[in-house]
Each structure stands twice: as C-alpha cells, then as structure tokens.
Amino acid sequence: MLDDAIVAIGSANDCDILVEKFSQSESLSFADFARVWKASHFELIFCGRSSEELPLLASELLAIAKAIILNVNKEFASRVGGLYLMYGLYFTQKAKSKIRLTLSEFKEFMKFTCELKEQNNMDAEFIFQKLFIAKAFLFCACSTPNKYIQMNKKCQSEEDVGNAMDENECRLIGCEGLSSNSLRNVDLLHSKYEELKPQIAGFVTTSSSAAPSKNFPSEIQAILDAFKSDIAKIKNNGTKQGKPTSVAEEVNQGVIRRRIVNSSFQSQSRSRRMPVDVTSMDSARKSSKSKRDH
C-alpha cells in the first residue's frame, strides 16, 4: 500500500497513529473518535496541497483507511477506527473520490460488516450505511488504477518522492558532529578516558552493561561509512532502498546511458524529454565561453 502512494506521503503513518489512539479509548463510539481526530488536528490533512493533488490524495487516503479495515491482524477496535476514519475522510474531502473495492476486498468487507452487526455497534453500522447510501463505494477490478499510468517509468529515482528524505538523511550524516574529524577527536578523548579510568581509586574492572563499547567511535564511523556507500549506490543505480530490481528488466543502451548521466549529475534532476548528450554539451559550453572571452 505504501509503495502505491504517489501523493499521500506520510499519511499511512498519521492514519495508523490516529487509529491506535482511538483503539485505546474506552468505548468504540464515534464521539471518542471525533475527540481523537480533533486532538490530532486531522482536519488539516488536506492542507497545503495544490488542486491537482487533491483528488488523488483523497483517493489514496481512502485506500489507506480501507486497508486498516481489511487488516484482520489488527484489533477490532482499530478496524472500527478505520471505518470512522474512512467516513471522516470521505465527507471532508475537497474532491469527489470514491472508495474502491475489488471482489476479494468486498468479500472481506462483508465479513467486517457482519461482525459489526454481531457486536451491535450502532454508531459503526450507521456510519457504514451512510457511506453505502451516499454511493461512496465503487465496485471495480483494481484497487489503485494510478499505478498503471506509470508503466513507462522504469527508473524512478529522480521523480521518486522518497528521495527527498534521502537528501535529509545525507544532511544528517554530513553534519558537523558526525564528521570524520569530530569522530577522530572523540576517539582520542575516549582512549584517553580509558587510560585514566583504571587510575581512579576503587575502580571496578568489570564494565557495566550500560557502558558504551570500548571501540564505539570506530563503530560509529563504520556505520556511517556503510550508510554513505548505500546512499551512493541508490543514487547511482536508481533503485529504491531495500527493494530488489526486477530480474527481467531490459538493460539496453538507452538505460546504461541514462545511468551514466545520472551519476555525473547527482545533485540535479534532469528532464527526460530530450536525450542528453553530455560530451557535446560540455564542448559547446567550452567553445561558447572561449568565443565570448575573445
């Protein structure tokens, strides 16, 4: 589900937190849900978006709520929270997106509504009927049609929303406290500390479990180096972190050329509308510069 989200970044996290808070309340009433919703300022979820994004955002949020309801591993209270969330999102959205149900999802949803009847939760039953009579449901063959419109995109590294966070991670790694100089200083200080420790009167030789390991500065350096090389690999290969590439992916000349260009221009994203010939661009710039200088 998270992988299918194009616009609703971070929303699955927000929805999970909201529903977990609701499930801890005493009753499964809508009033309790409304209290948690307002405390979380969830009415602001559509805030700050351009009008092009709103229909797709609403659609993805409704899909997230549906996934919570259909998740049989979650507690019943969380699933009821998912239904209330779906109701809230549907009637507060600024678009006209609907809730999509495939045949298999419909069968699971039916089981859920039967369980609602058995539990005699009038609020939840009322809310479900409100959605049903308002024709909020679309009975379809696929849950997320928007993933099919990206069929042309094999390499998504530049356009991928997730990469915005990669840059933030790089900034964290590159910050002053974690630079190699600082870690070297920490290592020096730590080794001096280890030397001085035994000289203290009454020093206990066995270290406690809460104490850091003796080589912790070099361990931190090793972790940071591994992290940096992983991020560099991601940017070079154009694959999502943690996701295996498709085995059957065609490696053709155009794709190899694209990878070389991407690795040369890592900090800037390029348009794919026209193929970029790096060598001619460079020579053109150099010759124009030399002409202008003359």
Binding site: G10, K135, F139, P145, A248, N252, D277, A284, R285
Partner: protein
C-alpha cells in the same frame, strides 16, 4: 504476446481478467448481499429513510444517531483557531506540528523543483475526469453495465527505455461496446496526411486524407488479432504477421488467433490492466494501448449509451518546457550551433542568461536565430481551486 513481453517485466500489471465474467459474478454477489433490499430502497425518496430502513430503526432513532455521528463533530470550531495570540492559527504550521504528512510534504516542497516536477507529472499522467451526468438519478439501484478506461499512446518507433511516451487520448468504454466503436474514436495525426493521385505538391490541397484510402486496422490483444473487416478492401494485418512468424520459427512467435473487430465486444476480451497492447493502422503506425481501470457503472456516469466511448484528449500544451532549466514554459525557439540540440526551446530567463551582454539582447541573426513563440492560451481554472477559495 506474453512470451515476447513477459509479464514479469511489468510488475504493476494485474492478473488477466475477462470483465464480463468478473462483473457478472460481482453483481450477483452484490445483489445477494448489500443490494438485497434494492426493491425497498428504490421506492424510498430520501437518504434518511433509506438508512433507517436498512438499519430497521424509526426516524426518531435515526435522528439521534445522526446527531451522534455528525461530520460536524470532526470539523474545527472557528473559535479554536484564535488560540495563544494567533500562534497556532496558521493551519499549515499546526499541521506541521502534528502530522507526519505535513512534515514530509514540507520536505518535498523545500526542494521546489522536485515538487513542481511531481505536479507536472500528475497533470500529465493522471486519469482524467470523464463527462458525467448533470443530474444523476437519485434512484438507488445497482447498474448492470461496466466501464473500462483505456489509454492510447502516441506512435513512436523506439524509445530505448529512457524517454516517457506521451499519451494522446483516454477513453471510457462500455463493456457492451464493440472494438470498432473504440477504433473509430482513436485520433491520430498521421490519418490526416493528404495524398493525391499524382505526386505533384500543387495538387495536394485537392487530395484526400490517407485515412479515407487506408481503412485497415487491428488490435493485438493477448495472442489474438482483432482486424477491421468492415470494408472489403481492408487487408488482414494478422495474416501478414502470422506468415512472417512462420517464416521465422526461431523467434518462437504464435500460434495466433484471428477475430473480427466488429463482432468482438470489450467484455469478450481477456485483458491485464497496466499491460501494453497495440493498435496498428495505416500499415505501420503503431500505438500502444493500456487498460488502466474497470468498474461497475454508477449513476454519476453518463447513462446515454450512444455517447460512449467517451474520449478525453491529453493536453499537449503541457509538454513544452525549457530545455535548460526544465522549470518554466518555453517562450523562444532557438537555433544555435552552440546549444546541445538544434533547435532548442528556451524560456525567457534562460534565453536572457545565455545571450544577454551588457544588458542588451543581441538581435537574431542567421547564425544565432531565435524567435518568440506564439502566446499559448491560459490554463482553465480548476473548479476545485474555486471551491478552496470559497472555503
């Protein structure tokens, strides 16, 4: 077709559907469960009565539930906005403090170029809104027909897997319609090429568009050729390809089936959503087609079946971005040996940055030729933007 283009290469492609069977099964299940009281609901006028009937409660109980589960309980009290001398009054700041969504959105918006690219991509590729009923029927009824949404791409020879192929049209097709109805609505600029009896260019204006002379076309879906045999002069493209496949057994293609387009409905096809199929006309003009969605019809959809298929053309205005910055719309056509490609489209800012010397833009010459492009029509204002403004 699966042997040549393995499904694994399209990880987003769905399972194979025969929509007639799928939606027949779905409708039957709906009528036995959620729509079991359809007869009763059809006779009731208001939504309140329908909900009360479904729950088996009186209207008094209904109103009590309505008050307990009102959407107004989720909406922010305007007085709450004015807290702590307006510190948290700004909704975006409040959202950023509370919601991961807002924090991640802020991170994305911090890189303006990426956010603009994303919006541009959405504008270009999102499934459009098709024409809907002005006054949808309030009668609560499950409709039997289903609709399929297809996307037809521009013709191209080879893109080497790097450039995105733009699409030209999106269609909403009825399951009960024939493939010929779909074929007739596909528009291709190559159809308008004028041809004459002789090759004299002066008589070109009196010629006829090539589509009047070459009517043959076919869809290749699954391992089946669906050819257009409405005109007796149409050749069978499937025949030619099958012959070529037999002459080249090392390619391991076929065997193929052949059917007539005019006798095949959308509901008869076996389709994977998100998987590319092909439409061929004019001998060698090939268009990729994907089916992106299929669902049961709803009262909001246009109910007059004669209007289908509904077509929405892709907005070509969106494709012209500056070749240097890729952010602004192009204003100038530039022909210069020193630029990476010849010719190139530049925006005003990039043109001035590249050519302006001592605050003066040199005139266009034969060596460095530039011309201002005609003004484009302004974007139509989105109705949703108006709704936001009103809020």
């Amino acid at each position: 077709m699966d042997e040549t283009y393995p499904v694994e290469a399209y990880p987003n492609a769905s399972q194979e559907f025969n929509f007639q069977n799928y939606f027949r099964k779905y409708s039957r299940l709906l009528k036995e469960t959620w729509y079991i009281n359809q007869g009763v609901l059809e006779r009731l006028n208001s939504d309140e009565e329908k909900i009360a009937s479904q729950l088996g409660i009186e209207m008094r109980e209904y109103h009590r539930l309505e008050e307990r589960c009102s959407i107004a309980l989720l909406q922010c009290d305007p007085l709450e906005m004015e807290t702590k001398a307006g510190q948290l009054a700004d909704p975006e700041r409040r959202a950023t403090r509370k919601l991961a969504t807002a924090v991640e959105l802020k991170a994305l918006k911090a890189c303006n170029h990426k956010y603009e690219s994303k919006l541009r991509e959405l504008r270009r590729t999102a499934i459009p809104q098709f024409e809907q009923e002005m006054n949808p029927s309030p009668v609560f009824k499950l409709l039997d027909n289903h609709v399929v949404i297809a996307r037809v791409f521009r013709p191209f020879e080879s893109n080497l897997g790097s450039n995105i192929v733009p699409h030209m049209q999106d269609f909403m097709l009825l399951g009960s319609q024939n493939l010929v109805d779909f074929r007739d609505k596909i528009i291709c600029l190559n159809d308008e090429i004028m041809v004459t009896e002789d090759s004299n260019p002066r008589t070109l204006s009196t010629g006829r568009p090539i589509k009047d002379l070459l009517n043959a076309s076919m869809f290749f879906i699954g391992n089946t050729f669906y050819s257009d045999f409405r005109d007796y002069t149409n050749i069978d493209y499937g025949d030619l390809i099958e012959k070529w496949a037999k002459d080249n057994p090392e390619k391991n293609l076929g065997p193929f089936e052949k059917k007539k387009m005019e006798y095949t409905t959308i509901a008869d096809l076996k389709i994977r959503l998100g998987y590319p199929y092909v439409f061929v006309h004019l001998g060698s003009c090939e268009h990729l087609i994907t089916f992106v969605d299929a669902r049961l019809m709803v009262p909001d959809d246009l109910q007059n079946v004669d209007e289908y298929p509904l077509a929405v053309e892709a907005d070509t205005n969106l494709l012209m971005y500056c070749g240097v910055c890729d952010v602004h719309d192009t204003s100038y056509y530039v022909d210069d040996e020193q630029l990476p490609t010849k010719p190139m489209n530049l925006c005003e800012q990039c043109l001035k940055t590249f050519y302006k010397k001592n605050d003066l833009l040199p005139p266009s010459t034969d060596d460095v030729f530039y011309k201002r492009l005609p003004q484009k029509k302004p974007f139509e204002v989105n109705v949703l933007e108006d709704m936001e403004d009103e809020d």
